[in-house]
Amino acid sequence: MPAKTLVMERGKRSFWVQSYLPEVANGLAVTLKHLVRFITRQEESVFTINYPEEKRQYPERYRGLHRLMVREDGQVRCVACMCCSTICPANCIHIVAAEHDDASIEKYPRIFVIDELRCIVCGLCVEACPCDAIRMDSGVHCHSFTDRTTAFLNRDLLMNLGTYSAAKQGGERSF
């Protein structure tokens, strides 16, 4: 079967447009207009944000630094299910699970490290977490690093940003 072809009509360009020079003049006039307007009425619509003094308003769903949520008693909510580290496309979540004393919780992350330098801030870890343990809604800008080792955020650092989450965790247990 022959491939279905779609013939695109090229827009007709008049001789005036094709001769290029008049259109160049038009373009120059547009940019010159912006220049003159900006110089004469400066306060209107400046795109520059003087960053450290002025800050851009982040959107509500802005993905900032990760945080690990905590339970009512201040323990980490994470149950070390490995969903986030499995889905992470940058492979930057490193979890070592350990057994929890409480049999209804079963596991907790003994080590939970996110390499913020490798993280691509995709938010998939948040989507994957079954128990609202990891979030990126801290609103905190990832800080700059001069030493790679400081870019590995461990469990306690991540929990410092975390707050209590009221989401229901765990199902009915039969034992």
């Binding site: 160049v24 940019t31 912006h34 900006f38 400046v46």
Partner: protein
């Protein structure tokens, strides 16, 4: 002794023009370009460099950039030819600066009495108007020598010199690209050479029309000719007699300066940074400075050839003449007698009389204004037009500009033949 004085004057001219004007404007351009583009895009541009809380609208970035360039590591890649790698930026800047030798910032200084004859100032051999009045009316007027104090080199083949120097200007680029031992740099250098060859042709041909109109290669002489009044009222600037050539020349010379929309040798999107990919620190700074100096030169040469150079419209050696009638007429027998000059000075005073020193001052100021306007035009073009593709550049150079400049040449020749 006179030789020593001549030498001192030449040195002073070089110092004032090259360091006081070219270098100053060139380094100011590094800031101006960023500011200008920022204002066009409703941004503030560089403003954050500050000393004790004072920012001076971003001017301190000049100092900050200089310090940064000097303190950075000067990196030479392994396998690069160290000597050529080092010399290349200097060659670029050297050629960009030596072409300024032919730019006249004002007419040659007249040691006698300068009077306008049909739109051109002539320097008569009288000390001043009083000396003229006391001269014998029947005596034939002599000419006094003029000194090119406002032009580094008053070459009678000035334009040829310009083409020669811009021709070797590409050596810095090509050698820098070749000596870096990097494929990107080499490609950038090659592109620069190809572009230079393509556009040098139309650049030369577009000026050939002007040469035919003015009949001289001497740049100062060309500017003097532009003072003639067309139909007794309009100054005969290059843009009036050769409007087409101006666009051809501007296009070709922007292509020669290797800036967007003709930035093929740099081509950030394809070649990293083209010929200066492997350059850092002050060597990189020198390359970009020579590019900016080239922009200033293009502004200066366009103003000189097409916008009347140092001519202030209707201003001549003794003041403003708004029509050609109030000027001295051509001599009937090839020379003027003192009597003719006397009656001119007494009878037809200029519309606004000005002393000669003030006229020279106004002319320099006018020329600098023209240069700055031409630079602004180039910045406007650079920040408005999208860049060409490489094949489009070759197409434009060989298939459009070259035939167009030949046609322009033909029409000019025909017009001169018919009008003479």
């Amino acid at each position: 002794m006179t030789l020593l004085i001549e030498f001192a004057i030449a040195l002073l001219k070089v110092l004032v023009i090259v360091f006081g004007f070219v270098m100053a404007l060139g380094s100011l351009m590094t800031l101006t370009e960023r500011k200008y583009s920022a204002f066009m895009q409703k941004r503030w541009g560089p403003i954050r460099a500050e000393v004790l809380g004072f920012r001076f609208g971003g001017l301190l970035h000049l100092v900050a950039d200089g310090v940064k360039m000097i303190l950075k590591e000067d990196f030479i890649p392994s396998g690069a030819n160290r000597n050529i790698h080092t010399i290349a930026p200097a060659m670029g800047l050297f050629t960009a600066m030596v072409i300024f030798a032919i730019i006249p910032f004002a007419d040659a200084w007249c040691t006698g009495l300068a009077l306008p004859v049909e739109g051109m100032d002539l320097c008569f051999g009288f000390d001043d108007a009083e000396a003229l009045q006391s001269a014998q009316p029947a005596a034939v007027a002599t000419f006094a020598p003029t000194h090119p104090y406002f032009q580094i080199a008053d070459l009678n083949a000035g334009l040829l010199y310009m083409f020669a120097i811009t021709g070797i200007g590409v050596y810095g680029t090509a050698l820098g690209g070749w000596a870096s031992n990097s494929k990107y740099s080499l490609l950038g250098g090659l592109r620069a050479s190809a572009q230079m060859i393509s556009y040098e042709v139309s650049m030369g041909l577009s000026l050939a029309g002007l040469l035919m109109v003015y009949g001289t290669l001497d740049v100062n002489e060309m500017v003097r000719e532009q003072g003639a009044l067309l139909w007794g009222t309009v100054p005969m600037w290059g843009i009036l007699v050769q409007p087409f050539a101006f666009f051809l020349f501007l296009t070709a010379s922007i292509a020669e300066s290797k800036r967007a929309p003709f930035d093929m040798p740099e081509a950030e999107s394809e070649l990293v940074a083209g010929y200066f990919t492997e350059y850092s620190a002050m060597k990189f700074g020198i390359f970009s400075l020579s590019e900016f100096v080239m922009v200033v030169f293009i502004g200066a040469i366009c103003a000189t050839l097409f916008f009347g150079g140092w001519q202030v419209p209707w201003l001549y050696a003794d003041g403003f003449h708004f029509s050609g009638d109030s000027m001295l007429a051509a001599a009937s027998g090839g020379a003027w007698t003192a009597g003719e000059l006397q009656s001119y000075v007494q009878a037809s005073t200029p519309d606004i009389a000005l002393p000669y020193g003030l006229v020279v001052f106004l002319r320099i100021g006018c020329f600098l204004t023209k240069i700055i306007l031409m630079i602004a035009l180039q910045l406007q073009i650079r920040w408005t037009l999208p860049r060409f593709r490489y094949d489009q550049i070759m197409f434009l150079g060989w298939k459009i500009l070259l035939p167009a400049s030949l046609i322009n040449l033909f029409i000019t020749a025909l017009a001169i033949l018919l009008l003479r």
